[in-house]
């Protein structure tokens, strides 16, 4: 049996790595991927808390349902976000976020 604590520590480490990737990468697609990494880390702690509850608790499965909602929102976000990325890349001829510094071209 794995203690719940271990899952939470792993979740914290993955979230921190997601933040590092978000701050340090320059490619707009990679930055978007690091957001997905952070969402995944949070999902892990949701499921860990869900399984740590006693078996007949009325809210035991709520955590897993939140994960489903997070995944749906992430899918919607990916569709819109990648549309925005394609548009930006077309207009500026670059994927580097440091080149996207003008409000109007």
């Amino acid at each position: 049996m794995v203690p719940t604590q271990y899952y939470l520590i792993l979740s914290a480490i993955l979230f921190g790595l997601g933040v590092v990737a978000f701050v340090f990468r320059r490619n707009i697609i990679t930055i978007f991927m690091s957001i997905e990494l952070m969402l995944n880390a949070v999902n892990l702690s949701f499921v860990a808390f869900s399984q740590s509850m006693p078996a007949n608790h009325p809210h035991k499965l709520d955590g897993q349902l939140f994960v489903l909602f997070v995944i749906v929102v992430a899918a919607a976000e990916a569709a819109v976000g990648l549309g925005i990325i394609i548009l930006t890349a077309r207009n500026r001829q670059s994927l580097n976020v440091e080149r996207v510094d003008l409000l109007k071209l």
């Binding site: 049996m1 794995v2 203690p3 719940t4 604590q5 271990y6 899952y7 939470l8 520590i9 792993l10 914290a12 979230f15 921190g16 790595l17 933040v19 590092v20 340090f24 990468r25 490619n27 697609i29 990679t30 978007f32 991927m33 690091s34 997905e36 990494l37 995944n40 999902n43 892990l44 499921v47 869900s50 399984q51 740590s52 509850m53 078996a55 035991k60 499965l61 709520d62 897993q64 349902l65 994960v67 489903l68 909602f69 995944i71 749906v72 929102v73 899918a75 919607a76 976000e77 990916a78 569709a79 819109v80 990648l82 925005i84 990325i85 394609i86 548009l87 670059s94 994927l95 580097n96």
Partner: protein
Amino acid sequence: MSAPLVIFFILAALAVIGAVSLILQKHPIHSALSLIVVMVALAGLYLLMGSEFVAAVQIIVYGGAIMVLFVFVIMLLNAGEEERTDFSKLAKFGGLPLALALTGLLAATMTKHGASIPNPETAGVLAPTRDLSKLLFTTFVYPFELTSFLILVAIIGALVLAQREKS
């Protein structure tokens, strides 16, 4: 060490290696493949925790649909190696220590206070998918319907963004 603990450490190491590789790879397609490794490892962890439905959704939606979308866009835009631009001085010297401090703080908090969180009495009991769906269509029916509206908005948004301007 018991078998679940060994599996946990293997999958956790796989996830962390994938995440570090996401940061270090220069080419976006390599980063995307690293992220897929992280997601598959997390799906394994969900299975280990006994939530088989979430594991299946993780593989199908995250590892399948969303990552295919990412790879598709990378190939569509012909994204090459990342161009290096100068960090500001503050980001160069302050960024990594601050990010590591955040990670350390989160992990330390979990280590210190996480011990009071109860552990499951029986490991690996599968969460019944039937109960999950019952909950989804009774207690959480309004959020569920709102989700379908959100997806509709996302579809329209993506279509509007993707269409070329008439010139």
